[in-house]
Symmetry: C2
Subunit: 112 residues, 2 copies
DNA sequence: TCCTATATATAGAGTGTCGATATATAGACC
DNA sequence: GGTCTATATATCGACACTCTATATATAGGA
């Protein structure tokens, strides 16, 4: 008997995982993350601004990322790095997402 | 460039797909569907009553399932069957869900 | 009599994304 | 100069959805 999945949490965690995964390499600012995720998923996952920034604040609050203000070309940016805590969380969450899909796939399997 | 995913719709579609998939075999009433899905996913996917019945009504409204009232052991039940429309929808949706998770998995890949 | 299981229903709470709007700089174009 | 697009962040309110709690009703076991 596995833990029941909270679907609202699943959506939240998918978005968080996408952002954290984008930060595995170098630190990036929010706008860059959105552009990268959209490119890497071929447009399948996109971030509305009203979605992206609250999530970044939530992640920073939970110390899964840490941000520093920068100035580039006269524009201010907040550049985020993945913390150790965030990296651990990403590993656990990736496993969870995969398990969820495995189960879902088994049940829907044979279709399509 | 694929279509951007609406995550709220994804949750809705996962729940709907789980219900429709449970009806691929024989017709079932709501309570039975919930029990079966929970058993077949080893407790990973469960339906709260407040979630289940509104979804059944939504599916019936959209003619993806059709329900008939029955009496068994003095209890009234509404037994639902999968319609052709529902079967088609399930096929399409299963493909969509699988594609979504495939993309997600590719991005999170290497973790876990 | 009380509790649990079966069976459906709905109103309201909670939580999340989404859309719109605001601010600000910079470059391209006319 | 003025407009548009791109970059860059922020927040409020609308919307959609699940989740909790409550209601109703029958049946069986302790």
């Amino acid at each position: 008997m596995t833990e029941p999945i909270d679907l609202q949490a699943l959506v939240r965690e998918i978005n968080e995982a996408l952002i954290l995964a984008a930060l595995r390499g170098e630190p990036k600012h929010g706008y860059q993350i959105a552009v990268d995720v959209e490119r890497e998923t071929d447009g399948m996952f996109t971030f509305q601004h009203g979605t992206l920034y609250p999530i970044l604040h939530r992640l920073e609050k939970g110390r899964r990322i840490s941000g520093k203000w920068e100035k580039a070309d006269g524009r201010r940016r907040k550049v985020y790095s993945l913390t150790d805590r965030g990296r651990e969380w990403l590993t656990i969450q990736s496993r969870r997402v995969r398990a969820t899909f495995g189960t879902l796939d088994a049940l829907l399997g044979g279709e399509g």
